[in-house]
Subunit: 588 residues, 2 copies
């Protein structure tokens, strides 16, 4: 069946004179998570991970993905006709390098220009001629029979009591910034940036609160390109009051094509080569996405909302975990059940709008798959041993949560206990940091890896990422990782997850994840120092900790953290829950 | 008197139609340490630090230097007519930024093109027109009456039993590398790279083993441009045997001017704009200095020599420290005496060729000046309290050493003890690291700062640098620091110092410095890990350590280090010295 899809695609490629065709994971807005309509890469390859690029030639097909998905991709690609290329592994070519080796000098490489960014295209075309590319073809359109329809979910206004800053304030700031770069207009394609700018939310993408739209901010007007039938009267009125011009989603093509002699600011990382190709008669100013930096620094209202949001989220999580722990020995509970139990508890919280990403509930060796998703076929039933890893979160009006805990369900091996303790040491080492203003997430990442590296263990992913505010679960530009893009000073108000792990294929997986906010610590003769405020409070499994591996600073950290967890959560719990929490947060 | 020099310079500037004149610290080879002939910046400003740039206009004069020298520069610039600009401090302009604010649109900026690199010039001219610059004038030539003469010290062959690799092997490798960049020739200006390439050493620059020369490596011949009277018959024969053409130093101008249609590889960071300006009729390929990378990775012969060299060096240092400790209470010993005592002990070692940099012997608040140099006027006499910091090293045929120890001479305050222990924690944290292949000194730098930052203390300099092999005390490209240039993977065989410190102006200074070599630790499913081998063994003052601040890993490190120090040094000591060392290295 899969071979059939490849066959059809190759037929289309041949009709259109294309020798190699690229299908990335992205949508027309360079989103990480995309609507079903855009999941062509999954459709053709069977690989379900969130990140990956498929490249097809007449006689071969490759799928590139990163360390989070190596194990999963290997399984899913079996029999698909696709070879797996493990990104960033030694000796593995990038897909542009691979294209260079398989496409003839005058060969033609094709892709849908909407789903590849300006900078990805500029990177890709190095070492090729411009003539090597045909960028206008969405070849899937004619061969993907049951392609899902383009999403048309309702959108609504995100109240100022949550957002903390009005859309007109935000647009004023944006104009000030693009002016300082010599621009007179700004094109926004990124869905979360559009949602943030206009204080609107939707549900076009599963687990996300974004909606498909473009925006054009000019000095004298702001235009939102969006399907009108997504808007109710209240939202239309809100936009009118804010002097925002409404046009349909598809009108972006004509409107941009008509622009002349403007100085247009856009982010090449977050705008498609298709959009840029419409702007031939204008001067284009490439720079960082203005709104990405603005939205990354949470305002005081957002921060206070986030603290409350994480508290509520932890209470739901507590009820879920307690239920699982107290019942799994008598009643069979599968990984899929775990997802449901926790989602059910979260759904009882005021302002809950859905989960913020596919829950990862991995038991035993499933937990070694960083982004495991259980299904009816593969789901394990919990037993009185080994680790259960649950990475989950919710979308609430007052914030987005992301938290991981790993609990032992009974007997664990000394190696498992040591690995669990090393992950805890890693969390503590980074969480405790004080750092000079100007220090980057790229440098701080070292602190989390240090305790694990001492024991020869690395996790093949970042240490942490920014989190949207009632928005995307992964939000830039900040992050802790070995990626140079995270060599960016952390600013007061930015939030980040801290989520190191140990992943041993076929054996066990451990991850402990908190969310922190950057705040000012003090200023002295050495300069201004920042520190992290942890805002997620939930027990870290003390039964899995080997206290003899912790030094006194680390013991103090975990005990202080657990005392705070008890104090913050217990007022909202019944006596039974309080007792459960007391046991889970007892001093070690 | 100083004002007189500025007056004369302004007169020359006016005659030559120059509105602003730049005098960097460099020589014609972009050296860090330079011959007296090139110390025009010191001559005009009185500032004696190794790094700094003077810029003079008709009515103002500025001196830019970095954090190592802020305190010193403030003192030395007093009454000089120069304002101090503290580099990298918030709100302080760089000198190009400052030039932009003080030089008129059609103003003329001048400098001697030999002492500014291609890349510094390219950086400098941003935001100016090419017409704003006159780069051919060495205005000091006519006003600096007592200018020291150009150095003409003898040079000699560095034996293969030390160097480990012959000059012809090295030149073959260099040719292979420039070929892979599409070049057919390579210009070398950096003095230490020339010394390394040709296995020659000299003494043109105080405390250095370099000599003034240029080299041009082509496919069919290699030319060394050097004053012939520096060479004895043996060295001339050696060069002849290696097919190296000798030309006089000044012939580089004519020879390069005659080159045509060549593809010339050069490092823009390490070649002067003057040299590049001679190559108009050729294609120039800018890239990293090939030899800098080759020489940074020490070969096995160099590494074994370095281990022995550090051992001998420590024995000399031990005799010196022991003498000071046993005598300063009875006989007055000044900081200057400390320099002499230690130099005298080093000079007894076979193969000693001089000290490797100006000894920093700082007592009490003098130690807070990172690069303090005592003189007759300011030197302190040691007393039975406070810290004595000694940062020193030697040039030996079998290596270059650099080591710092801080000892308390009696009573110290709890704050001093805490600071000393924090510096030790910092040394240990980085020294113990295991790190994945590909990890950079920029990232690892974080590990040394972490324990100090937790207490709100930063040192305003790098954590460590590469060290030459019987060559420059500071050698790139590797280093531990917050500089992006050190975001460069460490390779097996590279050496680095680890030298964090605490510097409290007017109070005390502490630095502990070891040298380490990168070696492979192990390879497993997570990848290949590297670690550091410490090669400097010398007691770290246990009387200044507060053991209650050390965790068990740290206690183990210091005790293991001291046991190794005793075992390595004691076989070469007399009974009295062995007893002294036993006391200094006892377990805590």
């Amino acid at each position: 069946m899969l071979n059939d899809k490849l066959l059809k695609l190759r037929d289309e490629m041949s009709k259109n004179g294309i020798d190699a065709y690229i299908i990335p994971s992205s949508d027309a807005h360079q989103s990480e998570y995309v609507a079903e309509y855009f999941k062509g890469r999954r459709w053709i390859s069977n690989f379900t991970g969130s990140a990956g690029t498929a490249v097809i030639t007449s006689d071969s097909a490759g799928l590139w993905t990163d360390g989070r998905y190596f194990i999963q991709a290997e399984k899913e690609l079996e029999g698909s006709g696709f070879d797996l290329f493990k990104m960033a592994e030694e000796g593995v070519p990038t897909y542009p390098e691979w294209l260079k080796s398989v496409v003839k000098k005058d060969g033609i490489i094709g892709f849908d220009g909407k789903v590849i960014s300006v900078s990805a295209y500029n990177e890709l075309k190095k070492g090729f001629d411009e003539d090597n590319f045909k960028i206008q073809y969405d070849l899937l359109e004619s061969i993907w029979d049951d392609r899902p329809s383009f999403p048309k979910e309702n959108i609504f206004v995100h109240d100022l009591s949550y957002a903390g800053k009005s859309t007109s304030e935000k647009i004023d700031i944006i104009r000030g910034i693009y002016h300082s770069h010599g621009a007179d207009s700004y094109i926004l394609s990124s869905l979360d940036d559009i949602a943030w700018t206009f204080n609107l939310r939707g549900s076009d993408v599963l687990n996300n609160t974004t909606f498909y739209a473009y925006a054009l901010i000019e000095d004298d007007k702001t235009t939102l390109f969006i399907d009108r039938d997504k808007l109710d009267e209240e939202t239309k009125l809100y936009l009118k009051e804010n002097n925002i011009v409404l046009k349909s989603y598809d009108e972006i093509t004509a409107d941009l094509s008509n622009l002349k002699n403007k100085n247009i600011y856009l982010s090449p990382e977050r705008t498609s080569i298709y959009i840029e190709s419409l702007l031939q008669n204008n001067k284009i100013i490439h720079d960082k996405e203005i709104t990405a930096y603005l939205k990354a620094v949470k305002n005081e209202v957002e921060i206070q909302n986030s603290r409350e949001c994480y508290l509520n989220d932890s209470i739901a999580l507590l009820k879920g975990f307690k239920h699982i722990e107290e019942n799994f020995k008598e009643t069979p509970i599968t990984e899929l059940d775990v997802e449901d139990i926790i989602k059910n508890e979260r759904s009882k919280i005021d302002g809950f709008k859905g989960i913020s990403f596919d829950t990862i509930a991995g038991y035993k060796d499933h937990a070694a798959l960083m982004h495991f998703k259980a299904n009816e076929k593969n789901t394990y039933t919990l037993d009185s041993r080994d680790f259960l890893l649950v990475d989950s979160g919710g979308q609430y009006l007052n914030g987005t949560t992301d938290i991981t805990r790993t609990f032992s369900l009974g007997e664990i091996t000394p190696e498992q206990k040591k690995d669990f303790t090393l992950v805890l040491k890693s969390v503590i080492n980074l969480s405790r940091a004080k750092f000079l203003k100007g220090t980057t997430g790229y440098k701080l990442d070292m602190l989390a890896r240090y305790p694990l590296w001492l024991e020869g263990i690395d996790y093949k992913c970042g240490t942490g990422h920014g989190v949207g505010f009632f928005l995307n679960i992964h939000e830039g530009p900040q992050g802790f990782s070995v990626r140079k893009s995270h060599d960016l000073p952390l600013e007061v108000g930015m939030n980040l997850t801290i989520e190191p792990g140990v992943y041993k294929e076929g054996r066990h997986g451990i991850r402990t994840e908190n969310t922190v906010i950057v705040k000012e610590a003090f200023t002295n003769e050495s300069g201004t120092f920042y520190e992290f405020e942890t805002i997620s409070f939930f027990p870290i499994d003390i039964n899995s900790i080997d206290p003899s591996l912790l030094n006194s600073d680390e013991l103090e950290w975990i005990n202080t953290y657990h005392a705070a967890t008890f104090n913050k959560l217990s007022p909202y719990l019944n006596i039974d829950e309080v007792n459960w929490l007391k046991e889970k947060t007892k001093q070690i």
